[in-house]
């Protein structure tokens, strides 16, 4: 191209050549990429929306077919769940009761311990202790749930059966405690994030008035970080509801309406696993129960997640 420009004498041609050369600076390939990539990347992002739609559509479709055979009112009010054994009955409450029992035990373990750890890490701990404890909690969060399930069966259950003579091999207490241990890191790191976000000046103000460390922690930092703490507790609750392998292994498979943590129970997630392990023919009522129970589970966790996000915004202290 430069040779071409030198050979011609007309200024107009020179300018044309220069313009042509400047266009050459924008290489053709990237020009094409700038047209294709935004669309390709958009499709990647749209996949997440498609996933949500996929989940909702599959759940609603099969659940609708299920409720054509089983009246919705029986499902939502019934107190007996035995879809696999005659006489069949389809009341969801025993599964919800089992799930709540596990979740409440788990939160009783995880929220106080997680919150106390968060206060220690953000207000008291020297740098060295933080640099040891935080990675350990991260490891605890990364342990697969199947490993926790084994831990519940082989370590916690024997201890509980030693303490309470009437506890079964499978009991809600052991499973609940281990689910609680599993969600400690989550409560701790989310609350700690909320506490670290409280500005230094608020603490300094309290210290200047002669407050001790715990007064600063409990009367200044915790109230200021309250929204984040509530959100972390709600998310932990939702996580405990959806936990599957620990409860499948350690809590048993007998759905019942009970508040006794020493008995064997069944959660919604454990029921879904139980059915999918067996040979249930596609299209049968038993197959439909997976989706009805899955739908219940999805709706509950979805509402809780929305509630957590709402809590994080609603109770936000302005500082």
């Amino acid at each position: 191209m430069p040779n071409e420009a030198l050979r011609t004498n007309s200024p107009k041609q020179l300018v044309n050549a220069a313009v042509k050369r400047d266009h050459g600076f924008r290489n053709e390939k990237s020009h094409v990429m700038d047209k294709i990539m935004p669309i390709a990347l958009f499709l990647c992002a749209a996949l997440s929306i498609a996933t949500t739609i996929g989940i909702v559509v599959t759940l609603i479709g099969e659940t609708y077919r299920f409720f054509e055979k089983i009246p919705f009112i029986d499902f939502i009010t019934g107190g007996k769940w035995s879809p696999l054994i005659e006489p069949k009955s389809f009341g969801i409450w025993p599964l919800i009761c089992g799930t709540l029992l596990i979740t409440v035990i788990a939160c009783l373990v995880a929220v106080p311990i997680g919150l106390a750890s968060a206060i220690y890490l953000s207000e008291y701990a020297p740098k060295k202790a933080r640099s040891i404890v935080k990675p350990i909690l991260e490891v605890l969060a990364g342990v697969p749930t199947i490993v926790y399930g084994y831990f519940a069966l082989s370590f916690i259950t024997p201890i509980i059966r030693g303490l309470f003579a009437d506890a079964g091999v499978f009991n809600a207490l052991a499973a609940g405690i281990v689910v609680g241990i599993m969600i400690i890191p989550m409560v701790c790191s989310l609350s700690e994030d909320a506490m670290t976000a409280v500005p230094r000046s608020l603490r300094d103000g309290a210290y200047a008035l002669g407050a001790t460390r715990f007064e600063v922690a409990l009367k200044i930092v915790v109230p200021a970080a309250f929204s984040g703490i509530v959100a972390s507790a709600v998310l932990a609750f939702s996580r405990a509801i959806g936990e599957t392998m620990i409860v499948t292994l350690a809590a048993g498979s007998t759905p019942k309406l009970t508040g006794n943590p020493l008995e064997s129970i069944q959660t919604m997630t454990a029921y879904i696993v139980q059915v999918s392990l067996g040979d249930t023919p596609h299209g049968s009522i038993e197959y439909g129960t997976i989706f009805a129970v899955g739908m219940t589970l999805f709706v509950i966790t979805f509402l809780l997640n929305i509630a957590a996000q709402y809590a994080a915004r609603r109770f936000r202290e302005e500082y």
Binding site: F42, L47, S154, L277
Partner: protein
Amino acid sequence: MSSIFVDANRKQIAGRRRIDFALKLLFLVATSIGVMALMALLIDIITDGIAMVRPELFNNFPSRRASEAGMKSAIVGSLYMLLIMAPLSFLLGVGAAIYLEEYAKKNRITRLTQLNISTLAGVPSIVYGILGLTLFVRELHLGRSLLAGSFTMTLLVLPIIIVSAQEAIRAVPKSRRDASYALGATKWQTVSRSVLPSCISSILTGVILAMSRAIGETAPLVMIGALTFVAFLPSGPMDSFTVMPIQIYNWVSRPQASFQELAASGIIVLLIMLLLMNLSAILLRNKYNKLS
């Protein structure tokens, strides 16, 4: 008169100091519970399973006899799944993150997508299993195959990868982009040659952590129908398969004590694999921190 005040004041201060000290101990004890739980878990598993970690565990297929049983098919199944899942979820996840951070306009649809991603991260893994069972196994006729399992797990880890990649991209200073534009680069040239190279290691860290989550995940694959007794190696993506957590689940749910020990030894192998993945993520992070 004034000395009484001072005395009362001193008493009060001493009392508050005592409460402060007691609470500090309480918080410390609470923190150490998490640490002790991890110790107990590791010690429990190692004492139960270390004797069964032997060559047969890696060379043999599952068997009815605990003394001969191994997890070769499960280890290979997990690795194959990783092989399909890692590139797929990397491309889709990082692509979505780039779109949201660099291209998307700040409007309602973008906010909705963002909200949707954080909600998806909170959906129980077993619900993804139900989705995979209906969509991949039945509707797309993939059957109970390696491919169906890998696709399901990809959907499961995508929200985690997207969020961590977004954080990595957001941490790249604006001046870097401006410099690239000032040199006349186009948007894609800026993103692909300036922004991504400067944050690729922290993106990879997030991807590796998400992969280690997927390797330990059991529930969705139980739903998909990954088999518990596979005495062969999958020969292609459409073959049936099993993975390590499912093999462990199968062993744990057997009543015999010898299978419990086998399960513990399987857990040791799984944990070592996760440890290696996490270690590589940490090394990558440290290397990056040193560079910048």
